[in-house]
Symmetry: D2
Subunit: 365 residues, 4 copies
């Protein structure tokens, strides 16, 4: 259970890393959205493997084939479904991993949970590969949100301790988001880019991997979106983000920085300017009480380093019940953070679209 999420907009993901196909069904998009499939493909290409020297050499064309939900180019009220072929998988890389769970992977709990029936090839249904259909769904939601005046974009905030220029929490602009999204390596600061790439390169040559943080902004969300308490914007975004493999933390605004802060500094004071309520700062990340307040929504997701590294590691042989040494020989990213950027954007888009539909209703556009 639970390859699905959402209430007013329901997303169902399916597939395994080395199965025949992966894909998703999106149920609840209003009818009448003219979907730009080229834009969807371009969005998905941002997370596809094999695009540059910083990624795995596994290549997937990752062209989604839309098999339902579109009619004459518009969403028609039926579930929007896309399938993606797993064209370039090499299962032989993984056969020997069946009994030797990889550290920090889901291999071990999956084996316990599914009693040996889990598809262990390439992480099976736990693989990062299933962020491809998430990105398909996100790309569709982003097009819907744009019709509602909402823009979403993210950048690499940190990799291996190197930090990019953060978003201006109050003043971040749509143009900035657009510009970043066009970069193969989405950072704001050229200097940070250089350092981050050096860190990744060193990790690669060290047969190591490196973790990072993605920062995401949603602009134009009107005040009043989000339901109180347990269906607030923060809960909705966080619960999808934690479904992206490797995510281990989610914070809004100052986030964990609040742990060292005082109310006199942290409170975002308000005033009236030109007949509008404006804020002096945006420490809250655009959300109070779970509900948007008109400011940019700003959050960050922490990613652990790619677990699959080529160095010898100690693990258990679950068949022999002995300690053994594992050497992983498949193709693996030394860093997934740059490829995870559109997945985080997708999580934000799907959460916000779901909550906007609850407030605005699901009539055709």
């Amino acid at each position: 259970m639970s390859y699905s999420f959402g209430r007013s907009l329901r997303v169902q993901i399916f597939g395994q890393s080395h199965g025949e196909m992966i894909g998703c069904v999106i149920d609840g998009l209003p009818a009448g959205i003219k979907l730009d499939t080229d834009e969807i493909s371009a969005f998905m290409a941002r997370r596809a493997p094999g695009r540059d020297a910083n990624s795995t050499s596994r290549k997937e064309t990752d062209v989604p084939r839309i098999i339902s939900g579109l009619f004459d180019g518009y969403t028609c009220g039926a579930p929007l479904t896309a399938i993606i072929e797993n064209s370039d998988h090499r299962s032989s890389d993984y056969g020997k991993l069946k009994d030797t769970p990889r550290p920090n992977h889901a291999d071990f709990p999956a084996r316990i949970k599914y009693g040996g029936f889990a598809d262990y090839r390439g992480g099976g249904a736990f693989s990062g590969r299933l962020t491809a259909p998430l990105c398909f769904a996100g790309a569709a939601a982003i097009q819907y949100l744009r019709m509602c005046g909402v823009d979403i974009g993210a950048h690499i905030y940190r990799i291996g301790g190197v930090t990019d220029t953060p978003f201006d929490p109050l003043g971040v602009k749509s143009e900035t988001l657009k510009e970043i999204s066009s970069k193969p390596f989405p950072v704001i600061s050229a200097e940070a880019e250089e350092k981050m790439k050096a860190v990744i390169g060193k990790a690669r040559s060290d047969l190591d991997s490196v973790g990072g943080i993605v920062e995401c902004a949603a602009l134009g969300v009107p005040a009043g979106i989000g339901e109180p308490r347990y269906d607030g914007i923060e809960s909705a975004i966080a619960s999808i983000c934690f479904g992206i493999p490797a995510v281990k933390g989610v914070e809004f605004g100052l986030g964990f920085g609040f742990g060292s802060s005082f109310g006199s500094d942290a409170n975002d004071q308000m005033r009236v300017s030109d007949g509008d309520v404006v804020f002096d700062s945006n420490n809250c990340g655009g959300v109070t009480g779970g509900i948007s307040d008109g400011r940019p929504i700003i959050f960050r997701c922490a990613f652990k380093p790619t677990p699959s590294i080529a160095r010898p590691q100690t693990t258990a042989d679950l068949n022999e019940m002995t300690t053994t040494t594992l050497e992983i020989s498949g193709r693996h990213d030394p860093c997934v953070v740059h490829r995870a950027v559109p997945a985080v954007e997708s999580a934000a888009a799907l959460a916000i679209a779901d909550l906007m539909l609850a407030v605005n209703g699901n009539r055709h556009v």
Copy 2:
């Protein structure tokens, strides 16, 4: 909508800070749990206001009255419902706040969302007071979990930059959790306690407030609990935690620390010892792929400083649409972090109980 959460174990909270009553309904607890109501009351007393010099002087007896779901002292399969009187509220404190939203409170978005119909007294349904019924539900879940071999406990990890001794992520013991829970100010290190109390005292005398971080552990959760992807343990805990007022971040294991880490260090290697799989470390916080792996589950929640401070603050007068100065005169905590500890434990308990019921089924115990 959405004062409720959970799938196999559904919790519905209700009430407003200055309404007649608050309470909750818990639907899905197995029949046959012998509930110790004294233990529930003791648990709730840990978050009740007015217990010590570090808290608001508002006093609520907070005695939950169980009106359904118990029969002869055991859960009977019917929803467990508790109501709590709001005995000591002073709404006159809040009348003047109707048109002047307090910075970092939900006042402003609530007014937009509900068009002036929201109960603004004391934050209405957005108030921290509604963590009382959450703690009732959590206390019941904790008793159920104990029957399943699971223990849950939390401590103050940080207040105003002062950090307590962290939990030993691999070796934390139930006895430690129990001992901490008996303290009025739940920290591990006496030195940290002294410093934290000094920070809170200074914030009080400065008419200021201070934020912090709570760290929580769940011990004894067997491997295989949690559903993959979007209903994993991390998603479930995070989405409830973000429903606790003032929570702005949730992280598991190393969390945001992963952003500066390398796989060679961060990977938790495994071995076989005495016929069992054991781990060398617990950077993942006991969860991989959303699923428990038998290690302690460790996570932290960041809390922003209490927004209500007595210092003059700038805000908008939404009636006059002018900038104005706000001076909040009600009784308010300079710090809620120590009182939030049982709320975080409750979020963990309810999320884990829900996911255990999905795996184990809901038969009577």
Copy 3:
């Protein structure tokens, strides 16, 4: 689990027949509805016991006490919660039933399901008494729907084989619904009323009980409400109705009569009149494909006879595991159908309000 239902408007019922209190929480009503509590009480009085010679002599004042969700007389966005005291219960009537399940009651499966922990007094949480909170929720939804132009009303369609004049499926008017709702015994035909009362009277004197059918109409539902397939109007209404004790069938329009019909007769042909699409008939009961089409929504619910009859019945003694004779001595209705009328109206109102909120959004009114 599952004393709750609804997606955009979530209703959570609680309580047991002979527990301390029963009640409900309604989460998702838009803010700004001016609730007429006298009207709610009058609505609930229609299902209350002890009103006339046709009912049980158990008397409950059934005055709901609203403890959250209302502020200055208007819904405020917080969950609307009502509690109702169980003032006049006599548990001693039921003690001896613990081990001897009553035929056609939930006693037997409840004992199996809850392993002897179920509250067996008066049917516990399975009792018809829990239609009181359902009617509270329904009464609130009816007031919301009236603001949307929707009127709902029902009548006794059949009791013990005596049939009332059916609703005119195409021409039924709001005034008719209002008039029926003011009758203590809600039928259209005075002749049918007399015969039905005679049947009930005979059942009473025979120590027997009698079943029946309720017919319900919803007028003014605009075309386009309801989601396709599994969240259509029919699915939503039926799943709530089957949660009313004793309901064993639900049908829309011609319903089971379609089993003997031909398309040439059954098809509701359309034409254009005065610029509007009109139908020549309403065999479909106002719903096609799960979606409203602007016609009156018409459905019927079948109720089995009250299971509790005073005649000696054969049952099992589950303690001794012997066959025994049961004589039920409590106060019981020979017929619940007239008291069930507002419960059916409530099911319709809550289902339709839920589906209208999905289409229209949940903004304050």
Copy 4:
């Protein structure tokens, strides 16, 4: 929204009648079920069009292609996904229907709801064709249920007023169900079969269509399955059944017959025989209080006649807003009842599997 249903076992249907593909995702089947795909295909063939003289001449091979969720022949915990090509559709048949809604079809409300963006070809996503993926899901659930000791089968109870021998509500046997399922025209009585076929034949030659009723039995469901009130067995089965196109009524046991019955006759008395509780009758259809009691679960679904008939019908031209005459020329069944039998079985299987998983948990088998 709402091409999905289920809580512990979630089914998501997708596709349009004349789109590229239809299919479904089933999330929540335990790992370790050895799926017999030939049996699935044979089950689906029972509802496929074009098999005999009683059906539409449209032919679809309807071979489901499983693209995820199976590994080495066993369910692996990942969502089970099947896609089915729409190989033999002739959209030209439908083009002219765009503006002229067919009586008793969803055409009219769909046009209102989706504002002209709905895929009108062949009923789009409202088509009976989408019972093919429902049957795929049902066939998988049936194999799971068989491992749990549960057998499900249905027969045509009535067509055009001709009634088959009903199931013996207490004594119906698995062998009988199996035997019926092997018949192309699933009835018990050869005499009824002959008469029903004559009725269908006459409807065909009259350019008419005919409605009917399907009766379904689930054997071997242990007592205690189903959640009380709004997630009972009746609610769960009914809400899926009403998602099958043309279903207009659902009843359990005596169903609407209860409307003319008395408690003294209708109550199913119990006794103890050979150490077991046995019932004297099964008027309740195996469910009391929403919960199974160990008897066969018996219910019936009423189907309206196929709306598409070749006779001239009056309808609206929604473009010209004039009254017009419609002549439908596509290939259409004069009766869908016999093809609907596996769809009803699927609804029962999926509802019962979902509720059994809630009680028993979702561990691998």
